[in-house]
């Protein structure tokens, strides 16, 4: 049985996918994950999930974000004056990065 492994580096961070292990049951999967994925990289916690339980939808199935121009959904579209609140600037920067990454893909 294949188990997908998600590692969290520090408490409070996100668990992100880092690979998978072959194991007969959940207990063994946890042990193998700890050995294979938790030994060298900083690890606070690991999740193991049976591969069969993972549903997937990919770019062949669906056009993520749609196919029409949705620039009205981005903060970067709106020209406003004066200094923006710190968190608004932060959000706009995150959006600009995401927009750029989508363009690169």
């Amino acid at each position: 049985m294949i188990w997908e492994v998600f590692r969290q580096e520090e408490s409070g961070e996100y668990h992100t996918h880092c690979g998978n292990v072959h194991a007969p049951d959940r207990e063994m999967a946890k042990q193998f994950a700890a050995i294979q994925h938790g030994r060298r990289k900083p690890t606070n916690s690991l999740w193991v999930v049976p591969k069969a339980e993972v549903g997937e939808i990919d770019a062949d199935d669906v056009a993520f974000g749609g196919t029409t121009d949705k620039s009205y959904r981005w903060a970067t579209t709106y020209r406003t004056t004066g200094e923006d609140a710190r968190e608004v600037v932060e959000s706009e920067d995150e959006q600009a990065t995401a927009e750029q990454q989508r363009g690169d893909a």
Partner: protein
Amino acid sequence: MDLDTVKERAGPREFSPADDLPEEYREAATRMIEFHANSEIMGAYLERPFIRHAPSIDRKLAFSAKVQDEIGHGQLLYRAAESLGIKTREEMLDDLANGDGKFLNCFHYPMDSWVETPMIAFFVDGAAMRRQATLRRTSWEPYAHAMDKVCFEEGFHVKHGEDILRTLMTGSRKEQKLTQAAFETWWPRIIQFFGPTDDQSTHHDFAAAVGLKQKSNDELRNAFLDQYIPKARKYGLEIPDEPRIRERDDGTYEVVEDDLDWDEFFAIAKNEYEPGVGQIEGRRAAQEAVEWVRETIDDDATTADGHAPQAAD
């Protein structure tokens, strides 16, 4: 874990569903996140009619995207609240429908005219964002993670709201006058968004001690006024004479509390303010009207893979 340990360990994103947390913590966190989730939903319902009333196709598209985002924020937050094990998502949604669920004061007021939209989309979203940015460091990890995504999206809401304000305030004389009038109506409510001053706030001490709340009402109100008074002025809005706001020597603000209507505020807090009751009813009616859609989806999901989907997913 006992309460003393919680207070000792309380830090940003410190506690997750893997921790065994005392009832007091889980109840306080549930109350706070449920309130937040309800507010997202009720705000979305308040703004929804303006998808239809938007003056241009661009505004219509942006408004529908924003309303969709807000409903999504509600969904994320009910998940974060549910993970505390005190209330199920169904119970929270039922309470919102039957009038027991509490939500933000600003969303109890009716909104009738387009000139009012920036009062919510710029000022209330701006105020909410001030607060939400600090909650990325709340101690309940699922709440902090929800805030990451919410803050990512909110920048669009605030800037879009600001753009509407800019358009109105550079429009005809009549538009400018109506916008100023709407601002005068909404301004005291927006200041009350942050609740009463710290010494009168009932839940603050505990929520702060266990790291759920990162900033006090006063600190947030200050940060808001500091940022948004100059913005309002920049677009030609005049700050109303009341409530009186005094700038202290250290640059912070003091709002004269007696100039605000606290009877109304506390009636709202108990869901006893007439227009707000109408809005709760309106949402419940809309929920019931589309019950058949949820039922159809549930039935379909059950026949498709043989077991009922979990309520929360």
